[in-house]
Amino acid sequence: MANQAETTHAGIVLAAGSGTRVGNSRNKVYLPLAGRRIVTWSLEVFRKIPGIGRLVLVVRDDDRELAAEVLDRELPGVPVDLVTGGDTRHESEYRALLHLAEEIRRGEIEVVLVHDAARPLAPVRIVEEVLATAIREGSAIPALPCEDVVGVDSHGRMSHAGRSGMVRVQTPQAFRSGPLLAAYQAAASDGFTGTDTASCVERYEGLPVQVVSGDPRNIKVTYADDLFTAELILTTSGYQL
């Protein structure tokens, strides 16, 4: 067992599967946003947390050069490991975990946080909360209640059944590293591909996933309009989220 001084937490940012790419188009996470790339903002939130000592950025193979250039320019002196991702989110996560596997087995990484590169506005408060909860409970995901969701029955009529407790899941999601790695190794043996990190951990490790309060500002850049919203949020928060 590693002592406290040797233990840290790791932040994985997934930028390998961020949207489709056509012709000369660029991966959206490398778009500028308030003077820095979207992916830089997504990494920056982990850098602000003192307990997170390892950073991994999962990229597409043909984005490696661009990613290295962006990191050198926008996060100078911050050690970030580049890992080539797979065809699915699940495979990209697994490759990042394999990159950290030795440190996890030696007990040097306690919690792993997994974050979408396309969510550049995750507030520090959320990262601190999922990290603290994962240390205590084993796992944590941020989510927002779905207040505007209604059910529809088979006749096309509004139904109140099954509405309670629905949430919209965000990232970063945090998990104790040992069970997380074990779950992904078991999934690899089975050929199972999970839709998100929590589903894989729940299935193979039987860990209940603790939900913490998300933040409406923690948007995922999906639509063109989201870029303008993200820039406005950054500006109005004085770039301090």
Binding site: S25, L31, A224, E231
Partner: protein
């Protein structure tokens, strides 16, 4: 950074993922145009010009610090890139001004 980027994003108007042309004025977003339906999101130009002036002031103020950081980290590539960067600067500024006055 270039002032026009082509990227695949979802379109609220025609739905689905399509190429979008994202235009910047310096570091600020100016507009996005969906290549499929032409749906455009654009900032109003007077507001964009005001924000641009404030941003240019910030860029000028922080330029010496940013240049110093590059000199320290990559002195050779900085020295090699500097003449080219100076040569293209007027064209870059002209492109930014074109965006600000709606002429691109």
């Amino acid at each position: 950074m270039e002032n026009v980027h082509i990227v695949v994003l979802d379109c609220h108007h025609c739905q689905g993922e399509h190429l979008h042309e994202i235009t910047y004025a310096g570091r600020l977003l100016a507009s996005s145009i969906c290549s499929n339906c032409g749906h455009t999101v654009a900032k109003d130009l007077p507001g964009l010009r005001r924000a641009y002036i404030a941003d240019v002031e910030h860029r000028v103020r922080t330029k010496p610090r940013r240049m110093l950081r590059r000199v320290i980290r990559h002195p050779v590539s900085f020295a090699l890139d500097l003449p080219g960067a100076l040569l293209v600067k007027p064209a870059k500024m002209e492109a930014e001004l074109r965006v600000l006055y709606g002429r691109r």
